[in-house]
Symmetry: C2
Subunit: 449 residues, 2 copies
Amino acid sequence: MADSEALPSLAGDPVAVEALLRAVFGVVVDEAIQKGTSVSQKVCEWKEPEELKQLLDLELRSQGESQEQILERCRAVIRYSVKTGHPRFFNQLFSGLDPHALAGRIITESLNTSQYTYEIAPVFVLMEEEVLRKLRALVGWSSGDGIFCPGGSISNMYAVNLARYQRYPDCKQRGLRTLPPLALFTSKECHYSIQKGAAFLGLGTDSVRVVKADERGKMVPEDLERQIGMAEAEGAVPFLVSATSGTTVLGAFDPLEAIADVCQRHGLWLHVDAAWGGSVLLSQTHRHLLDGIQRADSVAWNPHKLLAAGLQCSALLLQDTSNLLKRCHGSQASYLFQQDKFYDVALDTGDKVVQCGRRVDCLKLWLMWKAQGDQGLERRIDQAFVLARYLVEEMKKREGFELVMEPEFVNVCFWFVPLTLRGKQESPDYHERLSKVGVLRCSPYPLGS
Amino acid sequence: MADSEALPSLAGDPVAVEALLRAVFGVVVDEAIQKGTSVSQKVCEWKEPEELKQLLDLELRSQGESQEQILERCRAVIRYSVKTGHPRFFNQLFSGLDPHALAGRIITESLNTSQYTYEIAPVFVLMEEEVLRKLRALVGWSSGDGIFCPGGSISNMYAVNLARYQRYPDCKQRGLRTLPPLALFTSKECHYSIQKGAAFLGLGTDSVRVVKADERGKMVPEDLERQIGMAEAEGAVPFLVSATSGTTVLGAFDPLEAIADVCQRHGLWLHVDAAWGGSVLLSQTHRHLLDGIQRADSVAWNPHKLLAAGLQCSALLLQDTSNLLKRCHGSQASYLFQQDKFYDVALDTGDKVVQCGRRVDCLKLWLMWKAQGDQGLERRIDQAFVLARYLVEEMKKREGFELVMEPEFVNVCFWFVPLTLRGKQESPDYHERLSKVGVLRCSPYPLGS
């Protein structure tokens, strides 16, 4: 039956395949890209779950469907999805649609490789190295290490795991049972992934000591110092502080210099969760918000947020040059990471991670960066600040909006005060009733620049 | 400066954006899809790292580049990348290029959303639920839970974390220090992610007890029983067995019924790592290889491997109906998972995972399944077995190939015997010299069907 032509090929008929993909791409361009980013169209064609189930006909059946049916399904999927590239989409810390990043993502998908060895991903192994080098340079490091992770939560976990491994290398083999109780420190405004990570890594959420934040949401270094003392007094061993550059809700930047001083004094690993705020390093005007970040041991930075590189693009950066990442996570699986290859096996980065297969997350960022240059990206960041300021000024002109505070970043937190509550700030149930409307957070993106 | 039209939009000029994306898509179709899957073209234009760095000019600079330069970069990226959809690509446990899956991936990228709440991903929250339901039905479960993870390694970790949380719910808060030493069991042929996961989760690699495998690579249930007894005698608490359906190298299927009996006897969580072999459940002819999988507590299954759904598509399936996944991983972040939404917040699946943002991995599989139906996917799996058998028979006809064993799956392991070693099987250094050539593993894919 099988001759050599029957080996895997593109579903038999290259002409039909090309026709299908061109048709789908046409639907994507018309529906997701043109209409999906047009202010004259809706951000979302909202349906209740039960109705949407009926509309989508999700069931997977025994028989396949025709190309025409498949195209109609593609249209329906796009029609009822949220258009996150729409100019009026403000729901999350990502938005916008950069065409070069999208181009990179389409190429990534068509090449469909895994980022673990040079032989399977030669271009992307070298490219990831270069992109990480560039991000590190913006942090202020001329050397170091790093890796792209499936999201900032896992980047943060990596930092915690690296810090404990550096202090107790035995724990990789022997686990946590033989160690003293460990303590890590972060502010009450930190991202919830720190708690999740502590549970997942076996430390338990009790190991997370919550440091006070000031009224602007910034960690209070004096309280950090105090908490470290308290943990030690309770017999715990402090090992890591996770500071935040750009908190999720308020957009606050922790005072890194003062925190780094505390870490230095106590010999603690300083991790900076700059998933949201890291991209501000591109702006000469605003990068002072992260002053001191060069003193960190590790930085988590998600270019899929403010830089709009596309989900997911999440870098963990390390100052370390001792191969800590590979020592901590490596298992030297002999079938994949053979040591007798005919190239430098240091290029086989797959053993730096706890994943096996790992998506290519660097191309979209690299291609966008090549197209924009540092200068183009800097303009975007600066423009985001300008737009946030514009929004604040517009709110001040209008009745019914109450700012939570003057923003220093692009998070604009405000109350919408309904007519029935306006002018009643003094009434005892004002805040209770207002909170039923909900505090809103709005992060303008500058992709129109 | 800013009026409402200056809010984020698609980089200013929709016509230019569309022209760029159409041009890039043309390059993708010509270079990655047509040439990339043609037997008359190379799988890879191989370059040494230093030369490739020069050719790619990876450096990110201050100035952006023209569209023509960007298009040339796209061509270079594709030119020097490995064509994993090529009919002659046999390097990994993924390959082939399914056009419907690729269409789903392009739509996913263009919509760029995160799979955590119904409001941000209405279509994909419902679709993931339906796809997981279908996969569970193939396992043999009429109810249960599950989630798509960023790769099988993390799916395996989830299983381990769930098993320990089910037994010791306190460990989420209090960590592992207060627990007795835990022991988990897997065979020496298991994937290396079990060891990596044990280290990452704070259990330590010592907690992994390695069970013997027979000459075909299958876990020996009697040795499992013996190892459990040994662990208990040493004061450890056995809590999980990870069986493998389709080992990485030999393609072996562990005897699940016998292993489930042992687990039942000792009250242990049974996890089945079916990342590679799970797709065999689609074949009426071959699904007996996984007999007993319905007795598992959790199953990891990667449709990005044998089903060619595209990296990454990795499902963790659970028999549990007690919301274990959310209880174990949830943190109830109030800014994202508000409880007073105007739809059923059980649809907000984001708190089932340790990630925050999570890519949409279901659409590519769903669209391919809609196009192929169960029947089309079953034919592919069966065809993969036929091709593996064909390869074996061809090897037997030719000199210089020595099978490691008769395959029962699609992994064909063999030695290539160079001329100088042929007929010298009796010589004392035969195996040492042969091993310098390397054992090869080849997994034929049926996308030509």
